[in-house]
Assembly symmetry: D2
């Protein structure tokens, strides 16, 4: 018997990536891909890359219908709306995997500060497991509420995690991370208007991006409480991919071999994380996949410098949510994700 899944809010880019993966996943079957606006039209009308691959339509089922037809609920809804929509499924004991930011922070006050709205269900926050497999593989195998990490947060967390796990980090790491336009979602806006996006580099939310607190929480969970994070996001003129440049002060001097050994060892169970030492990470070759390209180095014995490249919609979004589902179902992490992407 295949596990029955439904995707709430399936018209966005996150929903599209979930569909691309889950329609062909060997262990699941899709009960519903919901959309109020597009109910009864084929998903392939919106996600045109699925034309010819599926006849599945969007639907607009009631909560009861969803409860009866679904074992796992994926939320691909905007912040705020997500927690409200998902609450009944959490209450009913379904496995819920949320791609929004609503369940990533354990602290309701931090949510209020960074998302500029009070959390609609603060009592649920303590029940969530942060869906970063490289941090929480064991916990995810049992989790009923999984908060899939943000795209920038994924890249930055993976850059810091092995050092954080050894208690090597302190102070306020600095990050500059560039992102492709698909990170802004499927709705046209000034920031994604092709004439203005195609030939520019533009910082935004400078030192104020809402992924900041989940990165701090992840470092603390791993073993390195931090004072802060100075994060500069930059809009770049590509479609897919994030490249993060991370600098951090170490708690003690390291040499190259200890550093590389630390990273290699931490990611040995996760072969989709490629720890490079003879070339630089870049986003092109890993776009479309859950692969991670990562290179740690020392600027000096107490200054860590890490480059990390991911696909923002896959490892930084829907693909990572599928990884979390796989762990929850007791499947190998990369089930249904085992295709390298076209390149160039």
């Amino acid at each position: 018997m295949k596990t029955r899944i439904s995707i709430l809010g399936a018209t966005g880019y996150g929903g599209g990536e979930l569909l691309r993966r889950l329609l062909f996943h060997p262990a699941v079957t899709i009960s519903h891909a919901t959309s109020r606006q597009h109910a009864d039209t084929p998903v392939a009308k919106v996600h045109r890359n699925l034309h010819g691959w599926t006849d599945l339509p969007f639907s607009n089922p009631s909560t009861d219908e969803l409860l009866q037809s679904s074992d796992i609920i994926f939320g691909a809804l905007p912040h705020g709306a997500s927690a409200t929509t998902l609450a009944p499924f959490i209450a009913a004991g379904k496995t819920v995997i949320d791609l929004s930011g609503d369940f990533r922070l354990r602290c309701a006050d931090a949510y209020h500060t960074w998302y500029r709205q009070p959390h609609p269900h603060p009592n649920l926050l303590s029940r969530a497991t942060y869906g970063l497999p490289e941090l929480n593989a064991n916990a995810l195998a049992q989790a009923d509420l999984i908060a899939s990490p943000g795209c920038f947060a994924t890249a930055i967390n993976l850059a810091l995690l092995p050092a954080a796990q050894r208690g090597l980090l302190q102070d306020t790491p600095q990050v500059v991370a560039m992102t492709g336009s698909s990170g802004s979602g499927a709705s046209p806006s000034a920031g994604t208007h092709h004439p203005e996006r195609a030939q520019t580099l533009r910082p935004y939310k400078v030192l104020a991006h809402q992924h900041t607190p989940e990165i701090l929480q992840c470092a603390q969970d791993a073993g390195s409480p931090l004072a802060g994070l100075a994060f500069t996001p930059v809009s770049a003129p590509l479609v897919r991919g994030i490249l993060a440049v991370v600098t951090a002060t170490l708690t003690r001097p390291l040499d190259d071999s200890e550093l590389v050994g630390t990273y290699r060892q931490a990611y040995t169970p996760f072969p989709h994380v490629l720890v490079l030492n003879d070339r630089e990470p870049e986003v092109g070759p890993i776009a479309g996949t859950c692969s991670v390209e990562l290179r740690p180095r020392l600027h000096n014995p107490t200054t860590l410098h890490v480059l990390c490249a991911i696909d923002n919609l896959v490892k930084g979004g829907a693909g990572q949510a599928v990884q979390a589902m796989n762990l929850r179902l007791g499947l190998p992490l990369q089930t249904g994700l085992q295709q390298p992407a076209p390149w160039p």
Copy 2:
């Protein structure tokens, strides 16, 4: 004394290009750059390339104020709204240069058919001069209502003009023309959403583009009535530029030297039109300018094949409107337009 000009609807890309040229034009001074939404804010807040170059604000003057302060009115408004807004200035005898499609067609029925709305002032249509300098240089010197050509129409007209002027064209020419995203204007839309525009080629308005009738009218005015035009526009993933590939049946056989001679001779008075014979036209090097790259050839003695490249916003828009103004003012055609663009 400088000629006083005003630009109605100055927040779009057409308005921005007019400002870039007219702020530095030796013979004119700008009285008003109008915008209801942005009145009293600096134009450089919207047209950020003008930051540091001008303190001019947008304004929202009454018609009377505009009449008193302006010798020439540029209309950079949407179709339909343009004719309505410009009518009082035409009535008052001002020189009006309209960048919209509202005054390009002499036939109100054709306007109704192609623009899907009745013309608001059909009685004004006969007073307009089509603002293609290479066709109407003499008439433009006297014109009080100038209809600046459409972007695609400019490229296709220039590809056909020398042959049309000799009565060489007949039947239904075929055109495929690709355009950059700036042709869609400054408002974000699905067709200009960067994630979807940046790596695709997408035809639109196939055999149904509203520039079709003005191209037929131009060919007829030049001396070659045509049966029709089969025009396929294609959205391409660049910002600026149109490349038109035009094929037409000739009324009699030509040889290469007569063909090239015809084109060279027709464009001798217009040195911004580069008739190439040893490389193909391309849009990159002429982006940002009124230059035209054009190459006529014969596929066989009675089949003409012309490639033509322009910048859609400059020669295909605001720059050509400035050329028309220059002719109206008795100035050299390229006054204020004499800078090659950066390349690459």
Copy 3:
């Protein structure tokens, strides 16, 4: 027992796409991916999208080694070199699938004219089957020498095929087709230099592209001998994809329903060919796959207009070669090709 395949010249983009597909193909195993220059280095050093997915190295085996270890030979070599290198494998009775242009034309004189060199093995030309599954599905099931079609030729052939099969085509169709930069191969050149390619549209080989004769041959094989083909290729600033705009004169008047019915029926056995009627074909959503988006329409009762979009490296290259292999092995056409691509 899996079929043993080798890829000769595996470092280019064609070789990379073959590896991406064949490494994960359920019915084959790769014996050799050859490269003189990169022998003994991992293929993932060159095809970085394969990093983490395979340890396969390039190798430089002798012809004897290849003969002993391979059931099927893929040639991904330059024109001219390909026929010379593949001749011994053809002589030995191996199944050979050539991605170059060397075996596409049955006429050695035409090869000499269009490829500007005499054919090194003209006697082999009559043994080749043109590897377009939609034309030659039955013949490919028996073929020992398969000439995989050119990228432009694939798009244009598929646009014309249903009409050609009914004897509906005549005269000289006109084609404008735009291509992404990956069609120029993996070696940097002036035409693919990013600063100059990224914001331009540039025609090349106008009315002189070497895919012309294979398109004429395909139309004739299908049932419609043509007088010629007027083909204008255009370099566009995207990476993957071809969009062809094809116009042809019909031998008799058609109406819309007969036209659409003809195309639908012809492609019923080939569900990867999407015959659209409510939107235009575009390359973005099918990039990375063997899918084809196609829309036939009538400009007038005797003028056919077809838009066709493919991925130049997949359906127009390595993916189509895998389709041909599948037919040769008696497998379903899309075996190993069953994943929609990421989009956007």
Copy 4:
């Protein structure tokens, strides 16, 4: 009498930008634009944006011819070759403006270390003036050997200069700077191959870029000796522009108003440097010009964060060299540079 200038090595992108500006500069006339390979062919054959604007050919004059015909020599040659070629003109007392890195460092050992070759004329290093107008306006008015700054160095220097001039900087600033592909020059290479560059972000020369020592020297000259610079350059998929994200430790706490006041005051004499406080710097609107968009802020009272955007070929290259020439000739800084660029 106009000043006679010659450009040595005029076929690259630096040479092209010099020609675009100097052909129309009111105070100079071009004697020679040299190229061995292209001698006697029009410069517009190579710099196609100049087609229709000039008949000037490349030439290959002897040193004597250049000495007799030129008052100012611009060097647009590769590192190493530049110093050797320019030495006789320096010896002869000509005003020499070098766009290469050969005369930027006063220390021959640093040159040897960072450029990986011994300096061919170390004795000349002390005679050079660093051509950053915002640092050295007075010295440049007298300088006979001007070393025009590197593109990255320009952006980073301008980000740090006002703070450096007040002695506010210490330790090792951190920089991440992204660049367009035109910075790699006019010769195709793997790093600028469109299929691989167009959709990736790729760091290179991490913590090892040769502009590092000239940035340290500039900070020291301004008044803030630094311990080092941790600089990560990133290749981004646009053509023109650099965005630098700079973080530095201050020698004493500052508040926002002192910081902004410091930057505003420092750049008051340089109105092409736009110190922003209500939007972020971006490269699009200033591409093609000498304008600089810059935003300083405090991450905390002792941590400075500056964003800086320039055009790498204009303010970061040829345009800045023209600024230096203007100062040397006693002209206003922006003479010949007074056009905003097209945007978008």
